[in-house]
Amino acid sequence: MTVRNSIRFIGLVLLQVLILNHISLGGYVNPYLYVLFILWLPFSTERWVLLLSAFLLGFSVDIFSNTLGLNAAASVIMAFARPFVISMISTGTDFEPTSRPSIRGQGMRWFLPYAVTLVLLHHFVLFYLEVFRFSEFFPTLLRVLLSSAFTLGLVFLAEYLTVRKR
C-alpha cells in the first residue's frame, strides 16, 4: 500500500509540474490534478500521515513552480478537511478501512460530493492566496470555478480509467 501510494505521489507531482502546469485555456483554467493523491488515500490512513503527506505533496509542486508555500497551504487545508467531509457524507455507509475512496466502492452519490467539496476548497484557497487582492474577487472566483471543473473532469477520468484494474 505504501509503495503504491509513493509511486502515485511521485507520478502525480511529475505529471503536474511537467505537463499540467503548462496547460491553460483562455488564460483562466489550469487543472491541479495532483490533489488526486489526497482524494485517493485509503480510509485507514493515520491523520498525521494525511497532513504530512499533503504538506510534502504541495511543497514538492511548489519547488518546481517557484510558489514556495502556496500549494502546500492549499493541500494541508484540503487534507485537514478530508476526515470531516468523509464523516459528514458517510452517514450509514459502511466501508472497509483499507480501501480507498472510489466511485466503485462508495458509489457516485458518495464520491461526487466528496470530490467536489475537497477540490473546490483546495482551488479556492490556492487561487485566492495567489492573487491576495480583493479587487480581483470575481475574476478569481471564475478561475476557481472553471479550474475546479477541469480538475474534477480529470479526477473522474482517472476514476474510470482505473476502475477495471481493481
Binding site: 509540474v17 511537467l18 502546469n21 503548462h22 496547460i23 491553460s24 483562455g26 488564460g27 483562466y28 483554467v29 489550469n30 491523520r47 498525521w48 497532513l51 504530512l52 504538506f55 504541495g58 511543497f59 511548489d62 519547488i63 518546481f64 513552480s65 517557484n66 510558489t67 514556495l68 508555500g69 502556496l70 502546500a72 497551504a73 494541508v76 487545508i77 485537514f80 476526515p83 487561487f127 492566496l129 495567489e130 492573487v131 487582492r133 480581483e136 475574476p139 478569481t140
Partner: protein
C-alpha cells in the same frame, strides 16, 4: 502536566494542522519571489535540472515557432548592421570613436520553464551567477520586453515575467514621451493595462508603448506593446487603456538578459546626491 499531555494527544490533529499551515504561510509570505530568492538555491538547482531535462524533449515540439522568432531577430539585427545604412556623410562616424561606448551587453539564455496561466508567472533560464546574471537585470527577446531577474543561483535564474501582479514597467508613449505604467491584471496573457494616462492626453488605438529607460533595468525604447482600446473614466484623474503585448509569452525559446555596464556609475552618481 499529564492532563496537558493528554489534551495535546487528543487534539494533535488540530495542532499539527495549525503547525503545517503556519509553516506554509510563512514560506509563502517570506521566501517568495523577491529579495529572499537566494534562500532556496538548492531547490532551484533541483528544479532547474529536472525542468532542463524535460525541456530538452519538449523543445522539439516548438521548433517551428522558435525558428520564426529567431529569424525575425536576425532580420532585425541585420537591419542594424553598418552595411544596412546609407552613408550620407562618411567623414563623421567611426566605430572606434570614443564618443561611442557600448552601454548594454546581452547574455543569451535558454528558457527552461515558463508559465502564462497563473496570476504570477515566472520564467527559469539556464544562465546564472556564473555567467554574470544578477538580480534586477532586465530580460528581453530581441527588442521586446520579457521581464526582470528576481533570483539567481549558480547556474540558473528566476525571471519575474511581465505577467505578474508585482510587475510594474515604467514605460512611455513613443509618439510624445508621455510616461505611463504598464501592468498585467490577469486573464489573457496577450493583453495588459496601461495606468496613469493624464486626462488631457489623446490616445489612439495602435499607439506604440516603449520602455522609458528611467528604471535602469531596461534600455530606452524596448517594445512593450501597442494600445488596443481605452476607457475614459469621468470620475478619476487618469485614464487607462488596454495594451497588446509585443512579446508572445507562450512561445519563448531563447531570451537575452540585459547587462547595464554603466549601472555602477549611475548608482554612484545617484548616491552622491542622496548621502544625506
Amino acid at each position: 502536566m499529564r492532563n496537558l499531555y493528554l489534551f495535546f494527544r487528543k487534539h494533535y490533529f488540530y495542532f499539527l494542522f495549525l503547525l503545517l499551515e503556519t509553516v506554509s504561510l510563512i514560506l509563502l509570505f517570506n521566501y517568495n519571489q523577491f529579495q529572499n530568492a537566494a534562500v532556496y538555491t538548492w531547490s532551484d538547482q533541483a528544479a532547474g535540472t529536472v525542468n532542463g531535462m524535460f525541456r530538452n524533449i519538449s523543445e522539439y515540439f516548438s521548433l517551428r515557432s522558435t525558428n520564426r522568432v529567431l529569424t525575425e531577430e536576425i532580420a532585425q539585427l541585420q537591419s542594424r548592421m553598418p552595411e544596412a545604412f546609407y552613408m550620407a556623410d562618411t567623414a563623421t562616424f567611426f566605430v572606434k570613436d570614443t564618443m561611442y561606448r557600448s552601454e548594454y551587453r546581452y547574455i543569451a539564455a535558454r528558457v527552461l520553464s515558463n508559465t502564462t496561466n497563473k496570476r504570477n508567472n515566472f520564467i527559469m533560464i539556464n544562465k546564472g551567477r556564473m555567467h554574470g546574471v544578477q538580480t534586477s537585470m532586465g530580460v528581453v527577446i530581441g527588442n521586446r520586453l520579457v521581464g526582470q531577474v528576481v533570483g539567481v543561483s549558480r547556474h540558473f535564474s528566476w525571471v519575474m515575467s511581465l505577467l505578474n501582479k508585482d510587475s510594474r514597467i515604467s514605460a512611455k508613449f513613443k509618439k510624445n514621451n508621455q510616461l505611463v505604467n504598464v501592468e498585467w491584471s490577469g486573464g489573457n496573457y496577450r493583453v495588459g493595462s496601461v495606468k496613469e494616462i493624464p486626462k488631457h492626453f489623446e490616445i489612439l488605438p495602435g499607439d506604440t508603448i516603449i520602455t522609458s529607460g528611467n528604471s535602469e533595468i531596461f534600455p530606452e525604447g524596448v517594445l512593450v506593446g501597442t494600445i488596443k482600446d481605452f476607457t475614459v473614466l469621468p470620475d478619476e484623474n487618469f485614464n487607462s487603456a488596454r495594451i497588446v503585448f509585443s512579446t508572445d509569452f507562450n512561445s519563448l525559446g531563447y531570451v537575452e538578459v540585459v547587462v547595464d555596464m554603466m549601472k555602477m556609475e549611475k548608482e554612484e552618481l545617484k548616491n552622491s546626491f542622496q548621502s544625506k
